[in-house]
């Protein structure tokens, strides 16, 4: 039993055995290889095809249904070898079908489907490099274990590289070894040719030929350098792509839910992301971001591999498809960012003022409220160095660090101003978000207690809320700033030469120019 294939040859339909089909295909491709790639060659081959169709038609009209390999051998005998086609006697007289009709016997990289485990990539690599395919299989497994990079590389090779199906392709796959001695041979051959031509020069125009040959020699050297450079570049591109994939997968798999880039740190990533958008959106955003990054990396690896192996490109539509997907990813990415960004469109704030009583006390003590709950079991959620810190408690409530400053009030009455600020989709929405922030400053006798964190109520999402506390003191007020205020105290006006971080743990007095050391003031 044999499989048959239906072919259209010169406008006629034939049922043809698979092996006969391969033979015919090889013959026709040998023909077109022989005549080159110009329009003329195509015309010749199509004329020959029509004639073959005619001959085969004569065979089928004798009651035969399927064309077999004997018929094809007949046809080839009638039509002749490609080398017989030439009317002008050429130097390549001794070329004969099938092996000689291929322009080059250079080895090409094909997938070896006969010895395949998955797609035959490793066995193809093995054949190409004359090594045991097991070496490449192990390599792929190792690279896959270290960051999954092996999988995309394998898939790219699988898609991009044709399998060796026909006899011609199998011949090419096993072509001459790609090794130093063969490269040497090729270079030597070129050199011999050049030398030969130099010898012949005597009979001809010395001057012109010398330059002709010189340029030719330079050309050969340049092409060789370019080829080496191409392979080198290919290796660099491929490795870069693989490194990208390893880095990317390390980011995803290594620390799920954590980003730490110098001064920017996010933990509980999934929770944090949910603050921006609904879960469905996030999955799309994640996929889109992944594609946005992954597709160009695939192109990079593909280009690199193509430069190294110089295989024949197949599946051109894969390029267009990936380009289309990539462009769609960009558009979707922008749309999603805009949608998410809409929640942060507007800023609004509310201000509350609390009057302080300082007259009855010689010194006011500024401290963190020790009864503030949840202080122990919260973790950093988002930290932007010197800018903002947000925390997450075990029961999924977001806390933020307020920013406290102490300033000269320029009025008699001391007070505390608490400004709560938030972003929101609209102005009103932002105001509402700001009102949902809980923060308190209380006075107990001479002690002013400030909360170490402001709390964003559980029903609320993260909208870049902020709380600023201004402690406004009239000139002459003496204040002790407790050590535990270090985390909330931000820039505060002081007399020259004192850094605001040095304010803690000491007693100060308010002057026209800001806080000043108490002893100095007393001396005056």
């Amino acid at each position: 039993m044999k499989k048959t294939i239906k072919v259209n040859l010169g406008g006629l339909i034939f049922q043809i055995d698979e092996d006969a089909y391969e033979k015919l295909k090889d013959y026709l491709s040998a023909l077109s290889n022989h005549f080159g790639n110009e329009a003329e060659a195509k015309e010749i081959v199509s004329d020959v095809e029509s004639r073959i169709a005619e001959i085969l038609q004569a065979k089928t009209s004798q009651g035969k249904q399927v064309i077999d390999i004997n018929d094809i051998e007949d046809v080839i005998r009638i039509m002749g070898n490609p080398s017989d086609f030439d009317t002008e006697s050429k130097e390549d007289k001794n070329f004969s079908y099938p092996s000689g009709s291929y322009r080059s016997q250079k080895r090409r990289f094909y997938r070896d489907a006969d010895n395949a485990v998955f797609g035959g990539v490793c066995s193809g690599l093995g054949t190409y490099f004359n090594l045991d395919p097991v070496i490449f299989r192990v390599l792929f497994v190792i690279v896959t274990l270290f960051g999954l990079a092996g999988v995309p590389v394998y898939l790219i090779l699988w898609i991009a590289i044709p399998a060796a199906h026909t006899a011609a392709q199998k011949l090419e796959m096993h072509g001459e070894d790609v090794n130093i001695s063969n490269i040497e041979k090729a270079v030597k051959k070129e050199y011999e040719q050049v030398r030969e031509n130099f010898k012949r020069m005597n009979a001809r125009n010395r001057f012109r030929d010398f330059f002709e040959e010189l340029f030719r020699a330079i050309g050969i050297v340049l092409i060789t350098i370019l080829k080496i450079f191409g392979v080198f570049l290919g290796i660099i591109l491929t490795l870069t792509g693989i490194c990208f994939i390893i880095a990317f997968s390390a980011l995803i798999i290594g620390h799920p839910g954590m980003i730490n880039i110098e001064e920017f740190q996010v933990t509980h990533l999934s929770f944090f992301m949910e603050q921006f958008a609904e879960h469905g959106y996030l999955i799309i955003l994640f996929i889109v971001t992944f594609l946005l990054f992954f597709i160009p990396v695939c192109w990079l690896i593909y280009l690199g591999l193509k430069l190294i192996f110089r295989f024949k490109a197949k599946y051109l539509y894969a390029w267009f498809a990936s380009l289309a997907i990539w462009i769609m990813s960009i558009i979707l990415f922008i749309v999603l960012l805009v949608l998410i960004g809409m929640n942060f469109n507007e800023v609004n704030s509310t201000k509350t003022t609390l009057n302080l009583d300082t007259k009855n006390y010689r010194t006011v003590y500024l401290k963190i409220n020790p009864s503030f709950q949840d202080q122990s079991n919260i973790e950093l959620l988002l930290g932007i160095k010197e800018q903002a810190d947000y925390y997450l408690s075990k029961d999924k409530i977001i806390y933020g660090r307020p920013r406290l400053t102490i300033r000269n009030s320029n009025v008699e009455k001391p007070s505390v101003t608490i400004e709560k600020e938030s972003h929101g989709s609209t102005f009103d929405n932002a105001a509402n978000n700001a009102q949902q922030i809980s923060y308190e400053v209380i006075q107990k006798d001479s002690i002013v207690l400030v909360d170490p964190y402001y709390k964003i109520n559980k029903s609320e999402k993260w909208r870049a809320q902020h709380v600023d506390i201004d402690i406004n003191l009239p000139v002459g007020t003496v204040i002790y700033i407790d050590n535990n205020l270090a985390t909330v105290l931000k820039y505060t006006e002081t007399v020259e030469g004192i850094w605001y971080k040095a304010l803690i743990g000491k007693t100060w007095v308010m002057t026209e120019n800001g806080l000043a050391p108490i002893d100095k003031h007393n001396k005056k």
């Binding site: 005549f35 015309e43 004329d47 029509s50 005619e54 017989d84």
Partner: protein, 111 residues
């Protein structure tokens, strides 16, 4: 050098002339030309003809038209052009000269 090869080379040389000769009588399609050439043992393998026809066509010596056939797909019918006829005349002349030249050499040296 074997004699078969020499014969093949000789035949190939005059093949172009023969094609023009066949076409000068009437328009034919490739298979007709093949049959005629095979009968007179001018060609051994058919493939030889096609590159020649294409080159002669591209040189402006021939042109072709598609004609419906009762037995299959349309066929390419070749016609000799005016340039082709001029060319043929020249070839006629040089063929005569060639025969005379060969003849005279044979007479002188084959005795």
């Amino acid at each position: 050098m074997n004699s078969d090869n020499a014969k093949a080379q000789m035949r190939k040389g005059v093949l172009e002339y023969c094609i023009l000769l066949i076409l000068s009588r009437n328009d034919v399609y490739a298979t007709d030309i093949i049959n005629i050439l095979k009968e007179s043992e001018m060609i051994v393998v058919e493939g030889t003809l096609y590159p020649l026809l294409t080159r002669q066509k591209n040189a402006g010596l021939l042109s072709y038209r598609w004609e419906e056939s009762t037995q299959g797909p349309p066929r390419k019918y070749y016609t000799i052009t005016e340039t082709g006829r001029q060319f043929l005349k020249e070839l006629d002349l040089s063929w005569e000269q060639l025969i005379q030249a060969v003849q005279s050499i044979r007479e002188k040296h084959n005795k």
